[in-house]
Symmetry: C2
């Protein structure tokens, strides 16, 4: 079983997942950029027996679980960082805190077609993916040990994807990540001082000036943030104040399923299908204060995180968000 | 001129360095791993005119600046993220803070030989590099605008190095990075509660158990941290409580020049010359409280930072530090 360990200096948690060492293609220094995956794709239709049994699927009426006929399919990760079985058993050894790697690690296979990704999806296809994200969150939050759920997508080998068939990962954590805690406390301070949600306040300022806004629709705004870590880093915000992603309305789900593929298409056209990560930032599951405002962050991986970023948490970005917004507007 | 911008949600500063876009080899999606640098190496002896004029050098008696005859040479970065000229001019636009990109960005050319790196250096050679680090810090701290100095090395293209000739970078910042502030406040809390430096306390526990200690000498301990972000992440600590790197004693300088190449040689043998970053974590220049304990962190880059890490600040590591320490001990 993997272990969760806390660094006593930074408060940062690390998953020591020794089992994942055997994951194909991973941990091959120097090789990961060139070695293609071999053998039949475990995420393709007809290969349902090559993954652990499905947890959730949207599929044609009358088709059975773990057989063809699905549009979206969620399975446990075959090389999980955390597992649902077992006890947390928090332990302290002198200055060090640790616990068992209890949680969940799932894979959302977004589409049955091997070579389609979110930038190709119709609104209807993306809608099914968003629905799967929501359903899994709603199910996993019933587990009292789960404090936070991270939904993240790695697209392209350089952004960390080990399989080409488009998929999203979900990790349910027994601890709220420190980065989320920090964002929450900034949001709390702002709400207490200014009587308005920090994110709503930022959105207002961005919509007023519009120089960093890329596009918007009925329920969402897509913009380049003021201080982006990465070239063409792009955020998508719900216009209404919504702390929890899993409380997304049907109308918002539809609206997000429109703006997300649109945004990814623009990034693809502007930058030539770059590797990217996208992440849903949402409130911790048990946080009912309502300070937070969920959003989706897209981070194209054109530059490398190196010594400077690792040593400081300061980032260096060679493109201003105003330039990036202009370019993404033009390719629209 | 570049700009420093602060993200109002995370408190994280970003350098928007539009000038660096034209840096050779940088920002070429997909190409950076394969395109070798072309033309004569600007860091080789005899090519001193291919860099900006030197700021500091250790050189043979009687040789002139910017001519051959040097052992270590420090020059301004040709594509600097920050510049020494100009005023900070902090500005606030609504919710957003920014200032001019004032600071310094220097390159320490560690050795005149093109194909030698720290794992090849003799104690004497490494000593000269350490001396250059110290001298530059002592000089730059005279500038009242400088709050923090980061010394970091990127080895290998995948760790962010754009030139093969071994060099270290130094960035002087007008703001203390948030990551350093967080470490400082954990150290302050610990000292106040337990009346002992957090880092001294960790060292004591590590030396008692020894399962993560790789090697030690008179003044330094080399160990794998309890919660490492990366496989084979390795830290080197001075045994005595020392907040500031630039106050390193002559004896410690000698001792560090021995243990650092030893450590890097073990990593090279164990992992086959992996790309890596090393970083000196030290106290902010004007922090005289003495809470902090400087150290050097080595991070081999065998895995990728992807969506999970970017979304949470949580890290996933497939190798336990105990396994890594064992392996590094065995190759000794």
């Amino acid at each position: 079983m993997s272990e969760l360990r806390k660094d006593p200096i930074t408060g940062r948690w690390v998953i020591i997942a020794a089992e994942r060492k055997r994951r194909p293609l991973d941990f091959l220094p120097g090789k990961e950029d060139t070695v293609p995956p071999s053998g039949p794709c475990p995420f393709c239709q007809g290969n349902e027996d090559k993954t652990p049994p499905e947890i959730f699927a949207l599929r044609d009426k009358g088709t059975k679980p773990n057989t063809p006929g699905w549009q979206v399919r969620v399975v446990p990760n075959k090389f999980p960082a955390l597992r649902i079985e077992g006890e947390l058993n928090p332990t302290r050894i002198g200055l060090f805190d640790m616990m068992n790697g209890v949680g969940a690690h799932e894979v959302v296979i977004e589409n049955s077609a091997h070579d389609r990704g979110p930038s190709d999806y119709s609104q209807e296809e993306m809608g099914k993916v968003i629905q799967a994200y929501r359903e899994r969150m709603l199910d996993l939050r019933k587990d009292d040990r789960v404090q936070y759920i991270l939904i993240f997508k790695n697209h392209g080998r350089r952004a960390g994807a080990s399989l080409g068939h488009s998929h999203t990962q979900l990790i349910a954590l027994p601890e709220v990540p420190i980065q989320v805690k920090e964002e929450l406390s900034a949001a709390r301070r702002h709400l207490n001082n200014r009587k308005i949600c920090l994110f709503c306040d930022i959105l207002k300022q961005e919509l007023d000036s519009s120089e960093r806004v890329v596009l918007e629709n009925e329920n969402f705004v897509c913009l380049e943030p003021f201080a982006p870590r990465f070239p063409f880093e792009t955020w998508i915000f719900p216009k209404e104040h919504r702390p929890h992603f899993f409380r997304i309305s049907r109308q918002e789900e539809k609206s997000l399923s429109e703006i997300l593929p649109q945004t990814l298409r623009r990034i693809k056209v502007a930058l030539g299908d770059p590797p990217y990560n996208y992440i849903i930032h949402t409130s911790p599951l048990k946080e009912e204060s309502g300070y937070y405002h969920w959003h989706l962050e897209i981070m194209p991986q054109l530059t490398r995180i190196a010594g400077f970023e690792l040593g400081t948490g300061f980032f260096m970005n060679p493109i201003s968000p105003e330039q990036a917004a202009q370019q993404l507007k033009e390719v629209g």
